[in-house]
């Protein structure tokens, strides 16, 4: 069962070939057996999962099941889950039990999905390798000496290792797409505002967006259908109808105009990855797409602008962790300032501290115009570049990451080197566009992802292109050794 996609499992449940309880037990057993070597899960909610599976079986028997009823799903540990610890990968929230469910969690519950547990991640989603987690790094199932990517590394590795059929992720600068690429799975970051951020622990509020991670585009479509939609509790949620993503999967891509930004295929890209990508682009061409060179001239400024905007918003969002109302509190504070400073100093790890400090500096008196305002103006230039590009093409295609998964420790000593692993994904967040990563081959034993970028609210088209590609290729069916 674990090698089946969500779509196949849903069909099996409906046909009565197995029950949700059997399915859930099978995945819980796999987690018990394989996760100690991978560290994908921070918390496994076995008892709750079994209870939810029984309820789903009753719903299936009663004939009022939805497409995800009885399907096991795992949540990135950034989404608040009522009664279950929500750590955000941080010592700060190690003992935090959320008093409410995030909208995304609530929607999966209403759909009858079964939650297997909470997935490991970079601390407060700040990292590109999962090495900043308080709970230790997740290992890449394709090579356990390599990182799974980040920040949704637990999500990507769990899907790749068949420790869950689907997982949620969040993406502020590439945190769904880059780990999806490193672990050989499919993931989509929707348009900013498409999926509610309510109950999703905030990192950089003008960039954060949740989305699905699964093996196939079809599974992502099924999950996004549940996740997407207006939520009045999120002030930046967009009130706009949600299309039928699954229905759009089968559409023809004949005549689709694909744009290849010349800035994405320059010297920074690994040659082997370029070759693999070229083959994938050829497949799209065979399906009837036409390929056009485009330019996104301000792309090179995206990472510098991001490392002003994201830390600035992070320093503001993380001010709430003060050791008073919830979260970690230091021992024996000598006064109120000591309580604030030491609770935060001891509760946060090094990368989170770096970003709080950069953000505090950028927002401090006298520096606002030089940093935050400047970065927001660059954001405008980048989004204008995309606007012009989408006058000429329907979808932009490029690499998801400049390399395949790298070794543990390879980039930890140099923050900038780590930041540059999101060089192809960050601009998409700055512009608020939807972006997707699809597995398109391997370099050695490590997977390569292709990025698809769409116009605002064009998730259905991205899923459609990815699905058509996956119908003529089989990269999404490959399993890491020992996980098949």
């Amino acid at each position: 069962m674990h090698n089946s996609t969500i779509a196949q499992l849903a069909e099996g449940l409906r046909a009565g070939r197995f029950s949700s309880l059997e399915l859930t037990q099978a995945f819980l057993q796999r987690i018990e057996r394989l996760d100690p070597g991978l560290n994908c899960y921070v918390t496994v909610t076995a008892e709750q999962a079994l209870a939810e599976a029984r309820a789903a079986d009753a719903r299936l028997a009663a004939g009022n099941a939805g497409p995800l009823t009885g399907i096991p799903i795992s949540q990135k540990d950034i989404f608040c889950t009522q009664g279950v610890r929500t750590s955000c990968g941080s010592r700060m929230l190690d003992s935090f039990v959320a008093p409410y469910d995030a909208t995304v969690v609530e929607r999966f519950k209403q759909a009858g999905a079964v939650m297997l547990g909470k997935l490991n991640m970079d601390e407060f989603a700040m990292g590109s390798s999962n090495e900043t987690s308080f709970y230790g790094p997740v290992r890449n199932p394709w090579d356990t000496g390599c990182v799974p990517g980040g920040s949704s590394g637990g999500s990507a590795a769990a899907v790749a290792a068949r420790l869950t059929p689907g997982a949620t992720g969040t993406d502020t600068g590439g945190s769904i797409r880059q780990p999806a690429s490193f672990c050989g799975i499919t993931g989509i970051k929707p348009t900013y505002g498409r999926v509610s951020r309510w109950g999703m622990i905030a990192f950089a509020s003008s960039l954060d967006q949740g989305g699905p991670m699964a093996r196939t585009a079809e599974d992502c479509a099924l999950m996004l259908q549940v996740m997407a939609g207006f939520d009045e509790r999120d002030s930046t949620s967009v009130d706009r109808p949600v299309p039928d993503y699954r229905a759009a999967l089968g559409g023809s891509v004949e005549g689709l105009r694909i744009g290849l930004p010349k800035e994405f295929f320059g010297e920074g890209l690994d040659g082997e990855i370029a070759t693999v990508l070229q083959q994938a682009i050829d497949e799209l061409r065979k399906l009837g797409a036409t390929v056009h060179e485009i330019s996104l001239p301000n792309m090179g400024l995206s990472v510098p602008a991001y490392y002003v905007v994201a830390p600035a918003e992070c320093s503001s969002n993380l001010a709430r962790y003060d050791g008073v109302r919830f979260g970690y509190r230091c021992e024996a504070p000598k006064d109120l300032h000591d309580l604030y400073c030491r609770s935060r100093g001891e509760g946060f790890g090094a990368e989170v501290k770096r970003r709080i400090l950069i953000g505090t500096y950028a927002l401090s008196a006298g520096y606002y115009d030089a940093y935050y305002l400047k970065a927001q103006k660059i954001r405008r230039l980048i989004s204008e570049d995309f606007r012009k590009a989408f006058e000429q093409v329907d979808v932009i295609v490029g690499p998801t990451a400049p390399s395949v998964a790298f070794k543990f420790g390879e980039k930890t000593a140099d923050p900038i080197a780590m930041y540059l692993s999101d060089i192809y994904t960050i601009a998409v967040n700055l512009a608020g566009l939807p972006g997707m990563s699809v597995p398109v081959g391997f370099c050695g034993r490590l997977p390569v992802g292709m990025q698809l970028i769409g116009n605002y609210f064009d998730e259905a088209r991205l899923l459609n292109v990815a699905h058509r590609y996956q119908q003529v290729t089989d990269w999404q069916t490959r399993a890491p050794e020992g996980c098949a």
């Binding site: 050791g323 006064d335 100093g345 305002l373």
Partner: protein, 95 residues
């Protein structure tokens, strides 16, 4: 842009973030590196570009000023490190 140890301590104080003395120099080096990197933004003249705060240029929604939330103080205070009689406890501020 280079930050020295004193600057790091000042920013850390603004952020109410304690940093071990033996790590201050490391932060000074890392933060200076990040600020140097960010300086690349100055390579382009952003002139009259409108700062982009929301990707869809959407403004905040308003709602009628009505009470919609109930009082859940006890529930939320279960998460607090120290409470008494419905109040959050912190070290004494005034002697």
């Amino acid at each position: 842009m280079s930050l020295d140890s004193e600057a790091v301590k000042r920013i850390a104080w603004l952020a109410r973030l304690s940093i071990d003395d033996d790590r201050v120099a490391d932060y000074a080096r890392d933060l200076s590196g990040i600020l140097d990197f960010v300086e690349q933004m100055n390579a382009v003249d952003t002139g009259s570009a409108m700062p982009l705060a929301h990707p869809l240029d959407q403004s905040q929604r308003l709602r009628p000023d009505e009470v919609v939330e109930s009082d859940q103080r006890e529930r939320f205070q279960q998460q607090a490190p120290a409470v008494e009689a419905g109040l959050y406890l912190v070290p004494k501020v005034i002697e």
